[in-house]
Amino acid sequence: MNDFPWLSVLIAVPAVGALLVALLPRGKDELAKRVALGLSSLVAVLAFVMAAGFETGGARHQFEETYDWIPAFGVHWALGVDGVALTLILMSVVLVPLVMLASWNDAERYGGVVAEGERAPARSVKGYFALILALEAMMVGVFAATDVFLFYVFFEAMLVPVYFLIGHYGGPQRSYAAVKFLLYSLLGGLLMLVAVIALYVQGPNTFLMSELGDLDLDPTVAKWLFLGFFVAFAIKAPMVPLHTWLPDAAGQAPAGALVLIVGVLDKVGTYGMMRFCLELFPEASKWATPVVVTFAVISVIYGAILAIGQVDLKRLVAYTSISHFGFIVLGIFAMTSQGQAGAALYMVNHGFATGALFLVVGFLIVRRGSARVDAFGGVQKVAPLLAGAFLISGLAGLSLPGLAPFVSEFLVIIGTFARYEAAAVFAALGIVLAAIYILWMYQRTMNGPTAEAVAGFKDLSRRELVVIAPILAVIVALGFFPKPALDVIDPSVQQTLSRVQMSDPTTTVAEKGARP
């Protein structure tokens, strides 16, 4: 079974599907939606069949495929997944069909947000679904690539569908937001490109991760290359102060697309830090750690404070994510088992939790035609299921124990504390701020007397229930039983740590015990 090119198929199916959907004749919108949903569901099923064959504790990268692509420059079509990549791919392929189903009726209309005096022009429906399929192909590719150049190609190519999803299907200021997103990403991409090329020139003339293992780089060069990669990833993740594209993109993009942009794409940044920054440049990573940890803590607190001050639901959730990305980066650079496993799990949990939040926010926007917090009030009374879904998603966002994000946040905090006490203590302030931004948002939109404009709200439709219920179920399941995910993640983390030559700090008691 393992000779089957699983990963190539997982990329090819949505890629071909995107073309197919795009080439459908006009007026076949319903068919386009069905084809897209069908194909993305197929991808999800295939991915889980593949995952069933993953051997925990087996070879580091599994389902490997390596074909020469540009032999002259040592570029390979090389794919393979370790535990971290596998869980991220599974999260992505689960989210895609749900996102499609969520935007079934409103893809073409800004996701429902209408500016004063502007009529929402209808956009191509099949275009929206084709773009999401194309994006899915690249998301699988970017997490599965084990060739640095191939990774870079997917990394950059992802920009195109996202650019059009924001710039074509977004709100009134979509162009500004899309261009800003593109400029930021291109800047990061160019820096990374320079680093990728320099890596080739300086290194053993290959791009295969497996052969780049024991790079013997000049320390100064390594530091510069590290920075090239790191800045690109920090823009994508995004970290303060490179974050300002995200709130604008979030404010304009349709809620469905945001699930993929914030829930999945931004993870490429943190995933890249773990996979490429740490493993290619271990010494440089350690050299940069104090600064990175500092900025991570700033992101946690700054993002949370900004989230409290937002008046737009989508921007609010975007800022909460900046805070959460701070936790992820913190866990990665704490370089302890608990910190990194927590960070890797955090990427997955955050995809589901923030995905759920964006989806429910999307449901609200479609009903109200506005994303402003003060446009709502007292929704709980008229739409209790909708409010309940919003509450559970929100509680996941504030890492309530019993829900999945708690496990990862807890691991990051204890893993960081073991090495950087002060950073962990400051970051832990984020748990208080999270309670404020989530519950205040919930109170203003869901509680109190029912606002007039809200009184006619219908509760969740069957389609909306089908979208949100599985995500909430996953959040609860991983909250009470995170072992399956962590069993897959932990061996990969141990590999990364041994690559960086870091081991967990010994406990005070163990140290004493060692003495006679």
Binding site: I70, A72, G167, S175, Y176, A178, V179, K180, L182, L183, Y184, L186, L193, Y200, H243, T244, I305, L306, G309, S337, Q338, A341, G342, G378, Q380, K381, G388, L395, P401, G402, F410, I413, I414, F417, A418, A424, A428, I431, V432, A435, I436, L439, W440, Q443, M446, N447, G448, P449, F481, P482, K483, L486, D487, D490, V493, D504, T507, T508, V509, A510
Partner: protein
């Protein structure tokens, strides 16, 4: 030792109410008709299981009563394995019986109290959720499991305070409770992180030891580390148990339906802080400074809560001030170490009976008074609500420490233990506890007189009546507990029962002692002053202006004002500044730079979007060309 028999099924305790909550929440309106019955049955079922486990435990020798139940492995990361294990020992079983026993009575009472609420099913779902989370809190065998229950009860508390969420005051109170509790939780989280860094584990057995023959790893750490852990846990306890300086949420929490105030905000959840401190006893015994801090917090809160209680006209808020104060007693006792643990837990259980009874009695009064909570509108209710009056009266006598009733034994024990702890601190702590006893007698007598005695001050359209049997029967049962629990716990074998967990100090009760006599005299004095002010004289329907102490007490001793000026306003200011900075500063610089690179003088925002778009796309394709070119050159 592994649990056997019914104890091995300890998970049922949590599973039953959790299943109840899940069925009622997921089942929706279909379960409206019988939802309250299912919820009550689940709670009673847990009580029966708890009782069976208790009986089984009595059959074991002292050293065999600590049993663990392995449920499943939560996860393993690196060398750190975290198990979902439960611990059945005398301390946790005491809490189990309190939570499920009093909890079931309150479920039954709520059937009547919430009968006319359209959302009664949801109410019972949340009550069940609370019971499940609270049982996890006291049964968990490690600090992380405890923390899951800890925040779980916080969630239930949030949902139930805000049960009538369409009232803005209820929604705000719910949010406040959660946020203030999270400040405390911060302490608990960092405390757990410190324990992990210190011990490499978070399990009770490993850290604290499992009894006289097995000392825990805590014995190997420095006093400084133990103090740090102790203070962090204390911060967590302050949040959950509404102790200074995190007390401010409890009075607002009275926005919730009265059975919630009785169950969560009096009898059980708010005592979780005391549980945490007593459970972590071996840590505190390594850290005298942390113990001192615990006693100071307890003494300060017992006085502050009592003073707040003297000035409230809202019957629930007067009782809430009293709860703060009584938990202050428990915290004080818990800070005294093994000498105080048994009295802390005994008072906690006795308080669970009489305070739940008092709150439910208040609810019964409100039920008859069209939900009016202002005691200035009550008066003379003893003649129309005889059962409520009698049961409330017994709870009243119990809390003020009337001889032979519950509070007499448990509170006296705490006062004596405080004096016995010796030195100046012992005298001060004992003095505070004595003074608190006097004030308790005063404010509780005030409540009693204003509500049940004196002239009738009812509104014209109010026709007070006794509550139905489904409400009065729980009142009667709780009154029995209010009368007998103290004597049973302090004179009976309870001290010996807890000994394997909390240490083997002698807990002899002195019938006649100097502090005891003083407490009795002060109690009579407090009640007499209340009689002169509220019993012998007519009570005005409008509150008089009052002295500066009264004004301060009405405003919760300015707790909210302090929080507002120190935290909330600067916080709002900081938020606004940060938003402005992010929009103008960070984003402005970035936009400016982008414009500069673009070679244009205007800001990107104003550019023709078509131009920018083509510019960006050309940049993208340019990048692709550069790649190709570089590769070609290199080859």
């Amino acid at each position: 030792m592994k649990a056997e028999g019914i104890q091995a099924a300890a998970w049922l305790l949590i599973a039953l109410p959790l299943a109840g909550a899940a069925i009622l929440l997921l089942g929706g309106r279909r379960t409206d008709r019988w939802g309250h019955l299912l919820g009550t049955a689940m709670s009673l079922g847990a009580f029966v299981v708890g009782l069976a486990m208790f009986v089984q435990m009595l059959g074991y020798g002292d050293e065999e009563r600590r049993r663990t139940v392995h449920l499943y492995e939560w996860f393993t990361v690196g060398d750190f394995t975290l198990n979902m294990d439960l611990l059945v020992d005398p301390l946790s079983i005491s809490f189990v019986l309190l939570i499920t026993g009093v909890g079931s009575l309150i479920h039954i009472y709520s059937i009547g109290y919430m009968a006319h609420d359209a959302d009664r099913r949801r109410f019972f779902a949340y009550l069940n959720l609370f019971v499940a989370a609270m049982l996890l809190l006291v049964l968990a065998d490690n600090y992380v499991g405890l923390f899951i229950g800890w925040e779980g009860v916080g969630l239930a508390s949030y949902l139930l305070i805000g049960f009538w969420q369409f009232k803005p005051s209820a929604a705000t109170a719910a949010k406040k409770a959660f946020v203030v509790n999270r400040v405390g939780d911060l302490g608990l989280v960092i405390g757990i992180a410190l324990m992990f860094a210190t011990f490499g584990t978070v399990e009770f057995g490993e850290i604290l030891g499992t009894g006289a023959h097995h000392v825990g790893a805590v014995q190997q750490i420095s006093e400084g580390t133990a103090t740090a852990i102790g203070l962090l846990l204390l911060l967590g306890a302050c949040g959950k148990s509404a102790q200074l300086p995190l007390q401010s949420w409890l009075l607002d929490a009275m926005e919730g339906p009265t059975p919630v105030s009785a169950l969560i905000h009096a009898a059980t959840m708010v005592t979780a802080g005391v549980y945490l401190i007593v459970r972590s006893g071996p840590i505190y015994e390594m850290a005298p400074d942390a113990q001192l801090a615990v006693t100071i917090v307890g003494a300060a809160t017992l006085l502050a809560g009592a003073i707040i209680g003297t000035a409230k006209d809202d019957i629930k808020k007067a009782l809430a001030g009293s709860t703060m104060s009584q938990i202050g007693y428990m915290v004080l006792a818990a800070g005294l170490g093994p000498a105080g643990y048994v009295f802390a837990i005994a008072h906690l259980i006795a308080h669970g009976f009489f305070k739940a009874g008092l709150f439910l009695g208040a609810g019964s009064v409100m039920h008859g008074m069209n939900d009016d909570v202002n005691m200035r509108h009550y008066g003379g209710l003893s003649s129309v609500m005889k059962i409520t009056w009698a049961t409330f009266g017994l709870g009243y006598l119990a809390i003020i420490g009337f001889p032979l009733l519950s509070g007499f034994f448990t509170k006296e024990g705490i006062i004596a233990a405080a004096f016995d702890s010796g030195g100046t601190s012992g005298t001060i702590l004992g003095g505070c506890a004595l003074l608190g006893a006097a004030i308790t007698a005063y404010y509780m007598s005030r409540v009693m007189f204003m509500t049940f005695h004196g002239q009738r001050r009812w509104e014209e359209d109010v026709h007070p009546h006794e509550s139905p049997a489904v409400m009065t029967v729980p009142l009667i049962l709780l009154a029995v507990g209010s009368v007998g629990a103290g004597a049973f716990l302090v004179l009976g074998p309870f001290g010996h029962f807890l000994e394997p967990v909390v240490g083997g100090e002698e807990h002899e009760f002195h019938w006649i002692s100097a502090p005891g006599v003083a407490a009795f005299v002060l109690m009579l004095a407090g009640a007499a002053i209340a009689w002169l002010q509220y019993g012998a004289r007519p009570v005005p329907r409008q509150a008089p202006r009052g002295s500066f102490v009264t004004v301060a007490a009405r405003k919760d001793l300015y707790g909210d004002a302090i929080n507002e000026s120190l935290l909330m306003r600067p916080g709002q200011w900081l938020t606004r500044l940060a938003v402005f900075f992010d929009n103008k500063g960070v984003d402005g610089i970035v936009n400016g730079l982008a414009a500069l690179i673009g070679g244009t003088s205007g800001r990107v925002r104003r550019l023709q979007t078509g131009f920018v778009r083509s510019y960006a796309l050309s940049m993208f394709f340019g990048a692709a060309v550069v790649v190709a070119a570089l590769l070609a050159v290199n080859a």
